[in-house]
């Protein structure tokens, strides 16, 4: 009896945990300052919690490994300047793979980008006619403020990025109807060929 109860409990546990496995796997990675953020989950919204993510370079050599948190989210700071491939095995034939181009990773600490941004700002302000000099703008934004702004922008963009990922995975009516159309067309051609062959056979005999 106890054995049966354990069995039922285990089955329930497994089924609760793995019921999402029949869906498509989605993995997305995006730059975040000097680190790479990523998310792994299933197309029905279940995220891959506490899953091992392996990091490879383009040649397939393993560089590192990390674990996702409870929301299927992970942050990885690359130690070398190579393009990365993130790979997670979610079991039962579900493998998530996402590649990341290291050139996308600018990092906010790059001095060139800051200079460019502040000079643009000063130009705009002068056009507007405000009495703000070049020096004032440059001193107005310190490194700390820059980092805070970058963090805010990232936080603001995160839901948007998720939405875009979700949107890419959406199957609209067009592609569904298109698929059905292809199927009917294909079997229509098959029908035509079969009918032609039947007729040719009949004329011969």
């Amino acid at each position: 009896m106890a054995k049966l109860a354990t069995g039922v409990f285990l089955a329930g546990l497994l089924f609760g945990m793995q019921a999402a496995q029949a869906h498509k796997v989605i993995a997305s990675v995006f730059p975040s300052g000097t680190a790479v953020e990523g998310e792994i989950g299933f197309s029905n919204g279940d995220m891959a919690a506490d899953t091992l993510v392996e990091v490879f370079d383009r040649q397939g050599n393993k560089i590192d490994e990390i674990r996702t948190d409870a929301d299927g989210f992970f942050v990885y700071t690359p130690s070398r300047k190579v393009d990365l491939v993130f790979r997670a095995d979610l079991g039962a034939g579900h493998v998530a793979e996402a590649s990341f181009d290291i050139a996308d990773l600018t990092g906010i600490s790059g001095p060139g980008s800051i200079a460019a941004v502040s000079s643009d700002d000063s130009a705009n302000i002068t056009v507007d006619g405000a009495v703000v000099g070049d020096n004032a703008t440059k001193t107005a934004i310190t490194r700390e403020q820059e980092e805070v702004i970058a963090a805010i922008v990232r936080d603001e963009l995160r839901p948007l990025r998720r939405e875009i990922t979700a949107y890419k995975e959406k199957n609209d009516l067009q592609s569904i109807l298109g698929g059905i159309g292809y199927i009917f067309g294909f079997f229509g051609i098959a029908y035509y060929l079969a009918a032609r062959r039947l007729r040719a056979k009949a004329t011969k005999s």
């Binding site: 089955a11 497994l14 089924f15 609760g16 793995q18 019921a19 999402a20 496995q21 029949a22 869906h23 498509k24 796997v25 029905n44 279940d46 790979r87 095995d89 079991g91 039962a92 034939g93 579900h94 493998v95 793979e97 995975e169 199957n171 592609s175 569904i176 298109g178 698929g179 059905i180 292809y182 199927i183 009917f184 294909f186 079997f187 229509g188 098959a190 029908y191 079969a194 009918a195 039947l198 007729r199 056979k201 009949a202 004329t203 005999s205």
Partner: protein, 224 residues
């Protein structure tokens, strides 16, 4: 259910491809001309079924409808499900093109087995019992598919027993839902067009009469 690209070893992919081609050949050889429309409709059913999500508890499962295809089509389920899988891979990114062969075998072969096991029972029963047997066929084909998926993963280096357990338990809700939907579909077919499930009897009759039918068709074609 759909194994994705990159999850299997190359040998398994090639083996699956060869088996799928064999199954396709067999299915196409056994495809009588009057079965082509039914094949197309079931292929479309399979294609769309994966987009129909049925909520089960906190999560949801999607339908597969391979059992019904096996029941109605027999070996012809191979081409029907292959076309469905191909378009699912292209349009929705389910599975992938390199694993197409393996996925076809994993889904279509169980459908064929379940179809042959239950077709006789279904065609001899009244609609109610036919629905029950149809439901069994639907559930069995999913159960066998999980076994095939586990074998594919086992051959690619994952432990067979843990993979089999994982996949099987994950698909228990699908088996239940699939069984119910297949039963409903079979009940409807038995009420509306029972000839669809009496395939064998019908083919032999067609073959016996075929010279007469063909002669008639040729005349019609000439007239038209």
């Amino acid at each position: 259910m759909h194994i994705v690209d990159g999850a299997l070893a190359p040998e398994v992919l090639i083996g699956g491809g060869v088996l799928a081609v064999a199954g396709l050949g067999l299915g196409l050889r056994k495809l009588p001309i009057d079965k082509i429309p039914a094949t197309g409709v079931l292929s479309a059913t399979f294609f769309v079924a994966s987009l129909i999500h049925v909520p089960v508890g906190p999560s949801s499962v999607h339908l597969i409808m391979s059992g019904l295809a096996g029941l109605v089509l027999g070996w012809t389920a191979f081409p029907a499900l292959f076309v469905g899988l191909l378009l699912q891979a292209i349009f929705f990114g389910f599975g992938g093109l390199t694993v197409l062969g393996v996925n076809t075998v994993n889904i279509a072969f169980p459908a064929v087995i379940a179809g042959f096991m239950f077709r006789g029972l279904v065609s001899r029963s009244n609609p109610t019992f036919a629905a029950i047997w149809g439901g069994c066929a639907g559930a069995l084909s999913i159960a066998l598919t999980t076994l095939f998926v586990a074998i594919s993963l086992g051959l690619s280096g994952e432990g067979f027993v843990p993979a089999a357990k994982l996949v099987f338990f994950a698909h228990i809700p699908i088996m239940a839902v699939e069984g119910l939907v297949s039963a409903a579909a079979v009940y409807l077919i038995m009420k509306v067009k029972p000839a669809l499930l009496m395939a064998d009897a019908r083919i032999s009759r067609y073959d016996a009469q075929s010279p007469a039918i063909l002669a008639e068709q040729v005349n019609e074609a000439n007239n038209g």
